[in-house]
Amino acid sequence: MTGHSVEEIKQEARKYWVVFVALVALTVITVGVSYLDLSTGMAVFVALLVACVKGGLVAGVFMHLISERQAIFAILLLTVIFFVVLMFGPTFGRIGSVGTS
């Protein structure tokens, strides 16, 4: 947003309010879906899908990731790699021990 005109900044501000409305709507959807009688797998899938969309809106628009510099993406790429290892490493590590105790 550096060096943008007043009109461009005002247009950006309008976008923030549109995203706000979208986030509220998605939150209502998340809660609404939780009251449906879905299978556990489907409930997890829908809840995480909506959360990812909401997270994407916050990161992309509010945190300006859609127009950020390459240096930040390099940091984030490294973060994503470590995060995936952190999330799935322990689960995959456990697969070998299932049924052995």
């Binding site: 923030y16 556990t40 984030l76 973060t79 999330m87």
Partner: protein, 214 residues
């Protein structure tokens, strides 16, 4: 006095001012912190078939509150839903405070940043009500693994909200003096504080369904 370089102008090699690079590195470490807790939660929940089940003696003690015998049913979804809305709104007010400075409207900045601080306070009050209800039913982190994870994750998140409130409160109050002497640097400070605040919102976006709705 030696000036700290690249407070306002971007470094030629990164294309960013230093504070922005710094906050993104910090947020990367924060992803790891919360990632470790989410990973523990997934591992415990998928690995222990009784993870979500309230032990018989606690269910009896809860009386009418313990009818479902599932931990997540003990959590207050309407209050957490309200807190989600409060935090989402505070993200908009935060970004609007930065927009106001970009438009050189300091009065509007004070209004939006003040609202952000009020939202943070509101979030903490709602969280306190929620915690108080748990404690009054003798539900503590030691009551079960689910509650241990619940209190650890929401407690750590609440600490982040308090941290953000302190920083934003400073930037709304005494720290706002910088606007008169170094407006661009002050605007950058608000952007950096905003990045942190949006991250706090981002964490809650995943915490809310994971703990309260699934």
């Amino acid at each position: 006095m030696v000036e700290i370089p690249y407070n306002v102008e971007a470094r030629p090699d990164t294309g960013l001012y230093n504070a922005k690079l710094g906050i993104w590195l910090f947020l990367a470490s924060e992803v790891m912190l919360f990632g470790a807790l989410f990973s523990s939660y997934v591992l415990l929940r998928t690995g222990d078939p009784n993870f979500m089940t309230i032990p018989h003696e606690i269910a009896e003690h809860l009386g009418g509150h313990g009818e479902s015998h599932v931990w997540s049913d003990q959590l207050n979804v309407p209050l957490a839903f309200l807190n989600t809305l409060v935090l989402i709104f505070s993200s908009v007010t935060m970004v609007m405070s930065w927009v106001s400075l970009k438009l050189e409207d300091f009065g509007k900045y004070k209004l939006w940043m003040g609202l952000t601080c009020l939202c943070a306070l509101g979030f903490m009050v709602i969280k306190a009500i929620e915690y108080n209800a748990k404690f009054s039913h003798d539900l503590f982190p030691s009551s079960g693994n689910f509650l241990a994870i619940y209190f650890t994750m929401t407690g750590l998140h609440a600490l982040h909200v308090i941290g953000g409130l302190i920083v934003n409160g400073y930037l709304w109050g005494p720290g706002a003096k910088m606007w008169k002497t170094e407006p661009e640097r002050f605007t950058n400070r608000i952007e950096v504080a905003g990045l942190y605040w949006h991250f706090v919102d981002l964490v809650w976006i995943f915490l809310f369904p994971s703990l309260y709705l699934l």
